[in-house]
């Protein structure tokens, strides 16, 4: 119970003051008052996203930050507000995630256009006996075989590999709205698959 996110009945024209309604109003491009509201309302979120993304490239200057924040709004209105028109409010609060993603994309595009390379992440510290790469890849194949045999769903496999290969936490995985799961839901999948793998590989089934 409470593991899967409930489908939100999409209500595009509800509360006129909702951020979703504001985005739609601004998509018409001629409502200066709505645009002023939009710029003010999303400013803290956009600034936070710009700051965090700039730091990934080792930058933190106020001037560049202000320029990029402004670029985000110009991105909103580019191509007759294509970005705003494409937004689909599939659940409450999605609008904030969407605005953040657009802001982050603007910053990444800026640094890429300047030839700045996204810093490669350092390997995560390993405090365990490390298998050789060949052994590790064979282990991955074995696990995939178990999933195949047990008809594990694509979504559950994705969660398992995001957790064990990409080092994402259950909370981080649950933040991917496309998976439509709560943190508890993600944890339940991980525990179930972990037990499945341990049992299957211990029993030597192939």
């Amino acid at each position: 119970m409470g593991l899967a996110l409930e489908e939100y009945p999409w209500d595009p024209y509800g509360d006129e003051d909702s951020p979703e309604a504001l985005l739609r109003q601004c998509a018409n491009m001629d409502d200066a008052q709505a645009w002023d509201k939009l710029v003010d309302r999303f400013r803290p979120l956009i600034v936070a996203t710009v700051v965090r993304t700039m730091r990934r490239y080792g930058f933190d200057s106020a001037g560049l930050r202000d320029d990029l924040v402004q670029d985000v709004y110009l991105k909103f209105c580019a191509n007759q507000a294509k970005v705003l028109r494409e937004f689909q409010p599939r659940y409450p609060g999605a609008v904030f995630g969407y605005v953040s993603v657009i802001a982050a994309n603007v910053v990444h595009d800026h640094f890429k256009s300047k030839g700045g390379k996204h810093p490669e992440p350092c390997p995560l510290p390993a405090d365990l006996a490390v298998p050789s790469e060949t052994e590790w890849r064979l282990l991955i194949l074995d696990i995939e075989n178990v999933f195949e045999r047990e008809h594990t769903s694509a979504r559950d496999r994705q969660i398992f590999w995001l957790y064990y290969r990409q080092g994402m936490s259950a909370k981080q995985i649950a933040a991917i709205s496309s998976l439509k799961l709560t943190t508890k839901g993600v944890e339940a999948v991980i525990v179930r698959l972990k037990d499945l793998i341990r049992k299957a590989l211990k029993n030597g089934k192939r």
């Binding site: 409502d31 990934r56 982050a104 298998p131 991917i176």
Partner: protein, 349 residues
């Protein structure tokens, strides 16, 4: 014999240790656009594409890293420090904000598609005007000039100007007394004509767009053509069953049909649509108002009483509230056996 047995130890721990030690974050030709990966976070990717992207990111160290960093950066709300930075930024100054907004809105007015830019340079004014008309017609066709919210506002204005129905239109707050004047047809209202034209063109271009079907149904409802409205709104409902606006307007269309045919079954259909709408938006005043009125017509007096009480607790003072008081008073008279069954007459123009 499998790998877990071959190399010994807990396979899960070895998997984790191997993943940490053998990461190869390298972009390949198969990697999707990073922008698309980030759009997984707010659920803005269609399910089939989302599955492809997630399957890839789960196994690709480059894309997995992009996704992990995006979650780290984007899933938490602004911190106090970041809010302070926003408060000191350039756009915290209202004058600078206005400049930006002017640039955006003016930019729209000066926006020319490339073909028109070319024509503006090389073609005579007549050709330019003709080309502009064609392009504007095209944009109008696909709903760029105005869109659904603008058309919706037109319907609200038209309804306020010539309210021929006893019920409330959802998402239209303005109060207007019932219009009983003879000889003034709703269909002659300029706002309604405009909304009708927009909806008709949009539905022609996008026959399966529930938002435009809803608006088309609404314009027919205001125009007192409930039969056409029911057809359009039922189609919109089939495409988007959980939209309270569609359900409310559909309920109104059934109510209007029931009024004309004196058919209790049709009142029941209206009542069901309003009930479904209220399950989605329990505190919407228009839905409660309409639900109450239908219950009263169906002689479900206790339900109607509860609805009017709820309505007046939400909206105690507006013109709609005065009407609600009138209906509720009449209901009380009916309950006490001293009133007349027909609903009272309310202010009209």
């Amino acid at each position: 014999m499998n790998t877990g047995d071959r190399i010994g130890g807990d396979p899960i721990e070895r998997l984790r240790a191997g993943a940490q030690a053998h990461r190869r974050p390298q972009k390949t030709r198969d990697c999707p656009g990073e922008d698309r990966l980030r759009l997984l976070l707010p659920g803005q990717v269609e399910p089939e594409e989302a599955e492809r992207l997630l399957t890839h990111a789960a196994e690709c160290d480059w894309c997995g890293t992009v996704l992990r960093e995006a979650v780290q950066d984007l899933s938490e709300p602004p911190t106090r420090e970041e809010e302070e930075l926003a408060g000191k930024g350039r756009l915290a100054d209202p004058a600078r904000r206005r400049e930006l907004v002017e640039r955006i809105v003016k930019g729209k007015k000066e926006w020319w598609p490339p073909i028109l830019l070319f024509l503006r340079r090389v073609a005579p004014a007549g050709a330019l005007t003709a080309a502009s008309a064609v392009v504007a017609g095209f944009f109008f066709q696909i709903g760029w000039l105005g869109g659904v919210p603008a058309a919706q506002r037109l319907t609200c204005r038209a309804y306020a100007e010539h309210r021929a129905l006893s019920m409330r239109l959802m998402a239209c707050t303005a109060y207007a007394p019932m219009h009983t004047e003879r000889g003034v047809a709703s269909s002659r209202l300029p706002d309604l004509l405009d909304a009708k034209a927009r909806a008709a063109r949009a539905v022609e271009a996008h026959p399966d767009d529930p938002a435009w079907l809803w608006l088309q149904g609404r314009t027919d409802l205001i125009d007192d053509n409930e039969v056409a409205a029911i057809t359009e709104l039922e189609r919109a409902r089939a495409l988007r069953p959980k939209d309270a606006h569609i359900l409310s307007d559909l309920g109104m269309a059934y109510f209007r049909k029931a009024e004309k045919t004196h058919n209790q079954q049709v009142y029941a259909s209206a009542f069901e649509r309003f009930s479904e709408g209220m399950a989605l938006k329990p505190n919407d005043p228009a839905l409660i108002f309409n639900h109450a009125l239908t219950a009263q017509k169906m002689f479900a007096f206790s339900k109607a009483q509860a609805d009017w009480d709820k309505y007046l607790s939400i909206d105690p003072n507006s013109g709609w509230a005065r009407e609600a008081h009138g209906y509720a008073d009449d209901l009380k008279k009916n309950l006490s056996g001293s009133g007349s069954t027909p609903p009272p007459q309310y202010p009209t123009r």
